[in-house]
Symmetry: C2
Subunit: 590 residues, 2 copies
Amino acid sequence: MTYRAPVADMLFTLRHVAGLDRLAADGLAPELEGDMAPAILEEAGRFAGDVIAPLNRIGDKVGSQLRDGVVTTPPGWREAYKAWTDAGWNGLTADPDFGGQGLPQLVQAACVETWNSASFAFALGPLLTAGAIEAVKAHGSEHLQQTYLAKLVSGEWMGTMNLTEPQAGSDLNALRAKAERAPDGTYRIFGQKIYITYGEHDLTDNIVHLVLARLPDAPAGTRGISLFLVPKFLVNPDGSLGDRNDVRCHSIEHKLGIHASPTCTMVYGDEGGAVGWLIGEENRGLACMFTMMNNARLNVGLQGVAIAERAFQQALHYAQERRQGRAPGYTGEGMSPIAEHPDVRRMLLRMRAQTQAARALCYRVAEALDRAHRETDPAARKAANERAALLTPIAKAYSTDIGVEVASMGVQVHGGMGFVEETGAAQHLRDARIATIYEGTNGIQAIDLVQRKLPLSGGDTVRGVIAEMRETVNAVAQSNAPGFGKTAERLRDAVDSLERATAFMMEALGARPNDALAGATDYLKLFALALGGASLATKGLVAADDSGQPARIASARFFAEQVATEAPALERAIVDGAGAVGDGALVLVA
Amino acid sequence: MTYRAPVADMLFTLRHVAGLDRLAADGLAPELEGDMAPAILEEAGRFAGDVIAPLNRIGDKVGSQLRDGVVTTPPGWREAYKAWTDAGWNGLTADPDFGGQGLPQLVQAACVETWNSASFAFALGPLLTAGAIEAVKAHGSEHLQQTYLAKLVSGEWMGTMNLTEPQAGSDLNALRAKAERAPDGTYRIFGQKIYITYGEHDLTDNIVHLVLARLPDAPAGTRGISLFLVPKFLVNPDGSLGDRNDVRCHSIEHKLGIHASPTCTMVYGDEGGAVGWLIGEENRGLACMFTMMNNARLNVGLQGVAIAERAFQQALHYAQERRQGRAPGYTGEGMSPIAEHPDVRRMLLRMRAQTQAARALCYRVAEALDRAHRETDPAARKAANERAALLTPIAKAYSTDIGVEVASMGVQVHGGMGFVEETGAAQHLRDARIATIYEGTNGIQAIDLVQRKLPLSGGDTVRGVIAEMRETVNAVAQSNAPGFGKTAERLRDAVDSLERATAFMMEALGARPNDALAGATDYLKLFALALGGASLATKGLVAADDSGQPARIASARFFAEQVATEAPALERAIVDGAGAVGDGALVLVA
């Protein structure tokens, strides 16, 4: 069973939940006139399904291999990457001045999803390149932009992000990599970086490393970190490749999943110092990093959606083919397809509803990013920016959490077959498992949401989002469409819980930060359940008005009645979290 | 970080939740006089930690290998297995007439847990042998018992279970393996069996296969299945090994986890028929299988507990060593151990509380099995038997579900390190993943609970268990011990939900089976949350009366306030399940 992009649901979600139609109506998406969006998605889906998806299993089996400092990607990967960049997919949202197509994030979000469904490990490399493009574009000098941007946008070169060191993971205060000023205005970089995704490989002739390091006179902590561009090969004035730079891949990790994505330990400056160029200002490197954080986190959220979609398709296909037992009421011959058994159907419906809810959350963030860039009114830009900031940690954490859950359920639907690697279901679980960890663990996302995002505009941002959910709930309550069941009732409970939990959090934040932090993860999930439920309900309402597609209503109902029901439980856990979690001295004794 | 058996918690749970003290007071455990139970557990724990646990990683890395029909276990495994059987651990509960020690299941349960914590793949083989012992003991002829039991009890030979065929997994109706009567009273067996755990290996000189097959004149369906004993080597009258039997390992699976446990495709009768002996009566093979089902399912539940305990220990150790950031209120120097961060502590507490709740559920089943065998009053035996039958699917499914969840959370606590195989956290997740599938998927457990177990004694069995939970809740409500927080309140909500959901299920079962089946999985979880919460509360009450160990109260509180809070949500999902899940025709269209 190969992968087929769910173009219909992607488009429906883009148009009716993420506001692609409104964006166009507001004149903010002139590139998408006519049938541009569907055409792009159809073509991306075809490429993903036909060219990339077949490479996913060999990518897992063979993996990327390091020998004598050279990393070799799995058979077929170089060719696929070249075909993908030749077709122009790398530069979809990039500045047309550097060869990009300047399309909205909304369209890109759907494309990122489809590349990752086809092969998570394949699609991961270009995500890092996208971050490098953004950093160089926003903060790089004219010289750096002219030298690197066009090649990065075309995908002829790839980019990396070098943050982590053994002692500095979630906490970059502890960063030790050093940078020294050279007389010619460049820098020399020294140090070791770990977990560098696609730090070394054979997909491109050059690799553009973005590296965080400290200058000798830098202040301690994160206010003393600078960002440098360090190419694998120096670039001559005519754009040709020059000397090999003093950076090498020391080893690659043996990982649970994404075997084809080389996770490298990189060593800088072993032979006198790697030549680097400052990006932005000295000691302001973290700010440069943060400008691309939202986008990278959205992309990781989309990886969660992607792996869930892939796992769902595979499980559904299996459950419709595999026959065991006879489901009550089954009228066919012999054994039923296992999809007919209520418990298996419950699993499939849960997989689908959660995948679609996560998709809606991610696409909503993409829309907010588009408005933040495209609105002409500064107030509207600010509002959109804050909305993106608020929703990004939710989209990242919820989507990657359900990525793991849905992939695991996919294994379960396959029964014994799911545990056998040849089936492919287990690979999705292994691949999915990284996404809750990298680009800020989901615990960090929850803390970010509670500490930094709830206070935005004094709470008006979050209250605005909740108010919109209420409108949706009211619309469902007033809808006469059959099939919604208790959707309105259950979603109202969820939004009520979210509202009370939000008030609790805002109050706790100042006086009792530990109380807020103890419940942060549950709060993020509660937010996702309410907003995810409202998003599916929105789709159900449009479907009811429109062609009456009952599957969309059924999905909204399933989410509200079977998934979002957890909301009041989360509220209780949040409010009580301080007592249960707080007494640290006692609770961790056996 | 190696594994240390949690002997204190095991014993406390055995004594105060699973009623080991009561069993002894009732004169039903004469073997456990004095300090026998703690002595056995200490010794088992030492053996598990010192001898088995160090082999777990190489077992994963090298795995069992098939070459020319011969399966070789990983380096060190033969020696460890020999040392383990030499120490007498294989025959702990077996009949002393055949060299066993006749100890209660309660003690065995704790030992099974500790072997599986040390190495899931290692401990799995003896679990199959235990099933074979039970079947031969209960249904085998005098000849079979004399020929095989002593060797199986000592562990000199191992046993296997051969049920599954490609078309017959959860549904044994579709079984096709054939048996023919031979003139000498033996049988000839033909057919292919898949997923045969330890079907071939080098740990023992002989392997005793128990095989389900059909006689030529057998009725269709499961009433036409017979059980046969098929040894790898025929056994001469003097007990020495004779000819190689016509059974061979065709291939072994490449699996997500438990790499050291060879999962074999076995071929019977390719060269004229494998010689087999009937166990029990013709066409009654499934009944023979079912006599050992409860026990095997309990053991798989214990595997869930075991892997959760191992993952928890590893994560706790890491979180106390690894330093990142500064937790609010942390007063030490430099960065805090990550265990000080509320979100990490929440994960650790959740891991521990769920592990301990699952342990309590499994040990409760073991106690019921002991009483079912040891009570002298027939009514008491029947009641205990039904209690074991009721609780077994709950213990199996909940424990293995949390095994996966806890192991996954263990990966999360490790951050990026968790995704790197050398750390070992990922192996626990991979190993744990099988336990929700085999020995009856957890969906099958839920169906068994609802369809077969709730109706026992007209519902009196389940009502009795719920009534006991109420007593515990009332005792917590009346306790003056500090630290319980809202434990009583939350548990009362959970028991109320369970009681209403039970009434709903009993009512739906007859008239609307699909409605009951749609909510079966959620119902099982609800039951486990209420009973798990009550079990931890029982421990907390004893601790409060006793030495006031605050960690036990804290764990009870955490479970009640942060985990069992989901109970009302599950009740809602169960009652609404029919509508949301039921409309199968619509809901699986994209």
